[in-house]
């Protein structure tokens, strides 16, 4: 048995993700599963003949006691945020009717592109969208397509993309990776797609090119984060 001082220590263990399907319990619970009497049975002369019975006993004891550590609800995902630049100003300039029409167009464009690039709409965030992709290439292509399409109708959209582990809460994603993607979108220039170094390096060889946008500090996120703009 491998012992850990705390459950968190076990989760840090390099082999944790290979072993999570197996049995994890508090030492106290293991103590009751592997009782002294269970082991003393091995001294009985007919132990081997009765082994199948003991296995069943053991299986039942495990089933009764086991409180498996739930699999970590974390997945590696590419998170994309889109945002309409200066939406208040653009709404004022467009007027209510035109603005509503542009918003409908924006929603249609985003959802069409998400479908095309196999993205999943996680939620709408005011004038923006949060979406998730299996990989950064499709996320970057999707964000670029959205920005380009909206620029064609006179609406400037910006996007941020980061690839990292996210916590899964129902259909929603959360965690630092999500915050980083959101902050990248905030930092992007009009019609720009800004990606993290993680996302950039993950698409090496995809023929997507980037311009260095320097290091950024993001509110609520520790450290400095290099950002890269997707080149046209």
């Amino acid at each position: 048995m491998n012992l850990f001082r705390l459950e968190e220590h076990m989760k840090r263990w390099p082999l944790f993700f290979e072993t999570v399907d197996d049995y994890v319990m508090s030492v106290a619970d293991w103590g009751s599963v592997f009782s002294a009497s269970m082991f003393r049975q091995r001294l009985e002369p007919d132990f081997l003949a009765r082994a199948p019975v003991y296995v069943e006993d053991y299986r039942r004891a495990l089933k009764a006691k086991s409180q498996r550590t739930p699999a970590p609800d974390r997945i590696l995902s590419t998170v994309m945020f889109t945002d309409i630049v200066d939406s208040t100003g653009q709404a004022a300039r467009a007027g209510d009717t035109m603005w509503r029409s542009q918003l409908e167009r924006y929603n249609d464009v985003v959802r069409t592109r998400l479908e095309h690039f196999d993205g999943r709409e996680v939620k709408q965030t005011g004038d923006g969208f949060m979406a998730a992709f299996d990989g950064p290439t499709r996320g970057i292509q999707c964000a670029s397509a959205i920005c380009e399409a909206m620029r064609g109708v006179g609406l400037h959209v910006r996007a941020g993309i980061h690839t990292g582990e996210c916590e899964v809460i129902g259909d929603d994603l959360s965690g630092i990776a999500v915050h980083i993607a959101a902050r990248l979108a905030e930092a992007a220039a009009p019609s720009e797609v800004l990606v993290s170094r993680t996302a950039k390096e993950a698409v090496t060889g995809s023929n997507i090119s980037f311009d260095d946008r320097g290091k950024h500090t993001f509110r609520g996120v520790p450290g400095e984060w290099p950002a890269y703009a997707v080149s046209a």
Binding site: M1, N2, R5, M10, D22, Y23, V24, R40
Partner: protein, 64 residues
């Protein structure tokens, strides 16, 4: 498993085992007597064991 199994070899006697956390290397101490676990330090210590009923991991189970 052996950390908990050792107690049946010493009926009626207190058995103390000191081990190390596989992650941080800090001490884990377990005191037992027969069926009773007298002390676990730290109390939140957990144990992981591959399932003896998982075919792909046969050879690492409780009955080896």
């Amino acid at each position: 498993m052996e950390v908990l199994a050792v107690r049946w070899l010493f009926p009626g006697q207190e058995v103390s085992v000191e081990s190390r956390c596989l992650d941080c290397g800090e001490r884990i101490r377990i005191r037992m007597r027969d069926e009773d676990i007298l002390e676990i330090d730290p109390p939140d210590a957990v144990g992981y064991m591959p399932s003896p009923f998982t075919g792909s991991r046969m050879g690492s189970g409780a009955f080896n």
